[in-house]
């Protein structure tokens, strides 16, 4: 083959490759294709979650009204005013509500789960019935308990007066001493079934053989509960308590409908305070500052949850 032939052959090959590259579409790598598929979802997330979140947080640094146009940058003034104002009272009340509505449903849910895990008659029916409060929407639960606790025509007063436990009707939702307890009770009624179902599922994974062997070795019910049942449930207990805590930390509907945060702010939590500041006080700046501080606290809880989940996966 002459030098010229080689040159021609090379030129033809180059032209062919050039034509091929013009007619054959460039292939995307799997990674590039995955990114393209993810883009709509990411855009949606950015539009409906990130943008509103950032916009809400940014208002914390402005003096801004819900109804009046315009806003003025005030730096950290709103955050400082919130911290110097009601923040600690709100934190305390939010913690009381959150702890109350986490511990009580856990205790009730665990007790019921243990009961339903035995071979009692009608356990399946009872399990279904117990789920009803959890299926009822929060607003409906609130109205139900509002009527139960009503000072002037509520069932609770009628019952207690009938039993001779109180002389006069009590304003359960209108007295600072009882309002938070009433709200916690209403929320407990709504959330214990979820705890019960989760714990019951956990209980059913505990090997029966272990219990039988321990029983043969002379271990009593209490000993078996603490030495076999509880260690097996450690993961699920931690998970449900942590999740319930996080949900209750941001709970809104039952408190708002039952008391609106009253009387005199006695049941106000971060959730109701942010709503009241923004939509009744029309002060978006203060509401944003309160929301910012609330979110920082929630982030701490989320970190704990993530760590806990990671440990669970390692186990």
């Amino acid at each position: 083959m002459t030098h010229r032939d080689v040159a021609m052959s090379s030129s033809q090959t180059h032209t062919l490759e050039h034509r091929k590259s013009q007619t054959t579409p460039r292939r995307l790598s799997d990674g590039q294709f995955a990114v393209l598929l993810l883009l709509p979802g990411v855009a949606l997330l950015a539009g409906v979650v990130l943008y509103p979140l950032i916009a809400a947080l940014v208002t914390a640094f402005f003096e801004q009204s819900l109804v009046l146009p315009g806003r003025t940058f005030v730096g950290l003034q709103n955050v400082v005013e919130v911290l110097q104002g009601d923040f600690l009272r709100l934190l305390r009340q939010t913690m009381v509500f959150t702890l109350g509505t986490t511990i009580l449903p856990f205790v009730i849910g665990f007790a019921l789960a243990l009961a339903l895990n035995t071979r009692i008659r009608g356990a399946k029916v009872l399990r279904g019935l117990m789920l009803i409060p959890w299926l009822v929407p929060g607003v409906v639960v609130s109205f139900l308990w509002m009527w139960i606790f009503n000072a002037n025509y509520g069932v609770m007063n009628a019952l207690l007066q009938g039993l001779g436990l109180v002389d006069d009707p009590q304003a359960w939702l209108a007295q600072p001493g009882t309002a938070m307890g009433a709200v916690i009770l209403a929320k407990t009624w709504q959330s214990f079934p979820w705890m019960m179902v989760m714990l019951l599922a956990g209980l059913q994974t505990v090997p029966v053989e272990l219990h039988e062997a321990a029983e043969m070795d002379g271990a009593g019910t209490v000993r078996r509960f603490f030495s076999i049942t509880l260690p097996h449930l450690k993961g699920i207990v931690g998970l449900v308590v942590l999740l319930e805590f996080i949900w209750n930390f941001q709970h809104f509907d039952i408190i708002y409908v039952l008391t609106g945060g009253g009387p005199a702010g006695a049941t106000q939590t971060f959730a109701t305070a942010v709503y009241e500041t923004a939509f009744q006080g029309y002060d978006l700046g203060k509401a944003g500052a309160l929301g910012l501080l609330w979110m920082v606290l929630l982030m701490a809880l989320v970190v704990v949850y993530v760590r806990f989940s990671e440990k669970g996966e390692e186990r």
């Binding site: 579409p25 995307l28 799997d30 294709f33 393209l36 709509p40 819900l66 109804v67 009046l68 146009p69 009503n150 000072a151 002037n152 025509y153 006069d168 009707p169 304003a171 939702l173 209108a174 007295q175 600072p176 609106g260 009253g262 009387p263 005199a264 702010g265 006695a266 939509f279 009744q280 006080g281 029309y282």
Partner: protein, 440 residues
């Protein structure tokens, strides 16, 4: 060579991306396309010139009230037949109404006709989305007082629907049991308190006076503060925290402690208790009559309802009452022109107004309706006008756009006093300072 399963499907990656692109492009085009044209030149002018009518939304808290809803539904139906349009009902309960409406209007989710308490006009007008309806008031016979009540800063932001007052409504049968006739109701606060104690003495769990004690309606305390001599506001200076306001709250707290008024009561609880015969006296506008008589097991309750003048601090003082009124405002945007026409129809068409009066008993706002046989022959309505509305005055806080926040601040402090968390003097000082800050 490994092959991505997706590549083996009937639709290639490129084709899929092309389809996605076409879909996204179509969605973007749809989003960018102009929406239905908004009312141009203002609803009032469009309605006045008889422009093409369009469907619109109408919001009212009365749709949520069992006794009042039929009247509103009848008005809406009459207008739909009259104008051949569809009116979309929007409703929120009264206690939530102003917040929800504000959010909807601010977010551009609501346009059309909105039933509003005249007290809210300032807050809503501040958003700059209400139309000036003055062109629609010509030749419709609205009274000057009614038109003035639906203005803010001299602009006709609403067409008045009903203008009356909030006053004391009594159950004459219960009062007679303690020797008080409807015509001889106590005129001073001391006599009033004695009557409440006598009523309490009847026993049976009777609540002598179902006054508002829930924060949502604790604005009722303001009229008692005025009765005790507080002007509430002097020019741009809030006077709450003065001796008169502190005395009023101290007295209210003493009624609460003596159980002459009950805990956990707002207007709707008060109506229920009154309807059941468990309360002898409560505060309400004439609209409450329909609610209590319909809800009551006592079919004769209507004849026992007697409106009375609010007791005064010293004999000879003028009884105080708070103006209460409803108007229809029009929010700029889609359907606003027809909404304005509807507002005019609902508030001033004689047949419509009189039919509404027979159900809701709300004082009409046109001279013709006020002079009609239906209205003038109504004993309860006439007594209400004579004893309550005649001496009523507006809440001075209505002049400020932050009116509803001011009321909330005051209500929360009064509630704190009632539940024993603070004392009247401290609470009223704090309420006054908070109100002053909101006024600026």
């Amino acid at each position: 060579m490994s092959t991505n399963p997706l590549m083996q499907s009937a639709v290639s990656r490129r084709r899929m991306l092309q389809l996605l692109g076409i879909g996204a492009g179509t969605a973007a085009l749809a989003a960018c396309a102009p929406s239905a044209p908004a009312a141009s030149g203002g609803a009032a002018s469009a309605a006045a010139t008889g422009g093409a009518r369009t469907d619109f939304a109408f919001s009212s808290w009365s749709f949520t009230e069992e006794a009042a809803a039929p009247a509103l539904e009848a008005i809406v139906k009459a207008y739909e037949d009259h104008a051949d349009v569809t009116v979309n009902d929007v409703s929120f309960p009264y206690n939530e109404y102003i917040n929800q409406l504000t959010l909807q209007v601010k977010g551009g989710q609501f346009t059309g006709a909105a039933h509003v308490d005249v007290a809210w006009l300032g807050s809503l007008a501040a958003m700059g989305k209400l139309q000036d309806l003055s062109a629609l008031t010509e030749g419709r016979g609205y009274t000057d007082a009614a038109l003035a009540a639906a203005q803010f800063d001299g602009v006709q932001y609403g067409l008045p629907w009903t203008i009356g007052a909030i006053g004391l409504v009594t159950n004459s049968a219960l009062l007679e049991k303690v020797g008080v006739s409807g015509d001889a109701f106590p005129t001073t606060i001391d006599e009033f308190e004695k009557t409440l104690k006598d009523l309490k003495g009847l026993g049976g769990g009777l609540i002598p006076y179902a006054a508002s004690t829930k924060a949502a309606q604790l604005k009722d305390i303001l009229i008692w503060m005025e009765t005790f001599g507080s002007p509430l506001v002097d020019g741009d200076t809030v006077t709450i925290g003065d001796d008169a306001s502190v005395e009023a709250v101290t007295w209210y707290k003493s009624l609460y402690d003596q159980k002459l008024i009950a805990a956990d009561v707002d207007r709707f609880d008060a109506r229920s208790l009154f309807a059941q015969g468990r309360a002898a006296i409560y505060d309400d506008a004439p609209v409450g009559r329909g609610a209590v008589t319909e809800e009551s097991p006592d079919k004769d309750l209507g004849s026992k309802l007697v409106p009375v003048s609010r007791p005064v601090l010293k004999a000879g003082d003028t009884p105080r009452a708070l103006v209460w009124g409803g108007a229809i405002a029009v929010v700029d945007g889609e359907g606003a022109a027809t909404a304005a026409d509807f507002a005019q129809f609902a508030t001033s068409d004689l047949d419509t107004v009189l039919a509404d009066y027979e159900v809701r008993g709300l004082p009409p706002v046109t001279t013709e309706a006020q002079q009609s046989e239906v209205v003038s022959s109504d004993v309860f309505g006439s007594l209400f006008n004579e004893r309550i509305t005649a001496t009523s005055s507006s809440n001075p806080f209505w002049a400020f756009t932050a009116y509803s926040q001011i009321e909330t601040e005051i209500a929360e402090q009064v509630q704190a006093v009632l539940v024993g968390k603070t004392d009247p003097k401290t609470a009223m000082q704090q309420a006054g300072e908070a109100a002053q800050k909101l006024i600026g």
